[in-house]
Amino acid sequence: MTDDSRDRLEALLREDAARAVADEGFCRRVAAALPPPRAPRAWLRPALVVGSAALGGVLAVLAAPAGIPLAQGFADLARLPALTPAALAALGLALAMAVTAGVLVAEES
């Protein structure tokens, strides 16, 4: 086996390996076959807003002096049909939060 034949084979392999394979639409086909983009997490923002509002409400109630009508209102709501003014206020707050959530969800979708 001669050095020439060694070098020739080495060169032939390197040359063949370096030869570019024409794209011929390959990259486009790969791009088209990729799975669809990840859906943005539509629920995240509304959940954060509503969650923050709810947490704020709870903290406000807990931090408020005893006997605040809103706290009494939630307690009254739990004993329906005791629709006291405080219960109506609590119901109003709950409805407002629900509407807010609904609007945010509708906006996202």
């Binding site: 034949s5 392999l13 063949d16 390996a17 086909r29 790969v30 791009a31 799975p35």
Partner: protein, 182 residues
């Protein structure tokens, strides 16, 4: 103002993982498609249709598994392993694959692509007669430009076996190409 240099593979990979960036992935495909398809053409004994199907599967698997790429190996080596496994899994559906050692393969009847000068066609035919392990080693070290250690890791055989495969493959190729030109 200097020209903006091409982003490195690592930057593109991070863009894909962090932002689902399809344009970054397309750039990776454009950058690596040529050698991936060349490797698979060699592994598939010149069957370009099968090689391109496997190459597409390779990139789709790469897309899916990019978040698990740990940057402890070259991207080329990681991609070669995916391509090799895609070929291995496809070939094992039809026949046994011997990577450690084995009998010579029969020349593939369908391996006759129109790829330029006669010498290249002779080389392609000669490569198709190598055993699976020898072809995998040649494809890894020449067509994917991996080191012997990287090739051993990607193929899943000892480094000594890779070296043996390369030596035997070259001896067979020289003999085959010598026959062709006589």
């Amino acid at each position: 103002m200097g020209e903006r240099s091409e982003p490195a593979d690592a930057e593109l990979i991070l863009a894909v993982v962090a932002r689902d960036d399809r344009e970054a992935f397309s750039r990776l495909v454009v950058r690596h498609q040529s050698w991936v398809r060349a490797v698979l053409r060699r592994l598939a004994k010149g069957d370009h249709g099968l090689a391109d199907d496997l190459a597409q599967e390779t990139f789709l698997l790469a897309w899916r598994h990019l978040p698990s790429f740990r940057f402890d190996a070259r991207f080329t080596s990681w991609l070669y392993r995916i391509a090799f496994n895609a070929w291995l899994s496809e070939t094992r559906k039809r026949r046994e694959v011997l990577l450690e050692d084995g009998a010579d393969a029969q020349p593939a009847g369908e391996a006759a692509p129109a790829v330029g000068e006669a010498e290249r066609i002779d080389l392609e035919r000669a490569l198709a007669t190598l055993s699976d392990g020898e072809r995998a080693a040649i494809a890894a070290c020449y067509y994917a430009d991996l080191s012997h250690a990287e090739a051993a890791q990607a193929i899943g055989i000892p480094m000594g076996t890779v070296k043996t495969h390369i030596l035997r493959a070259k001896a067979k190729l020289r003999a085959k190409l010598g026959e062709e030109t006589r």
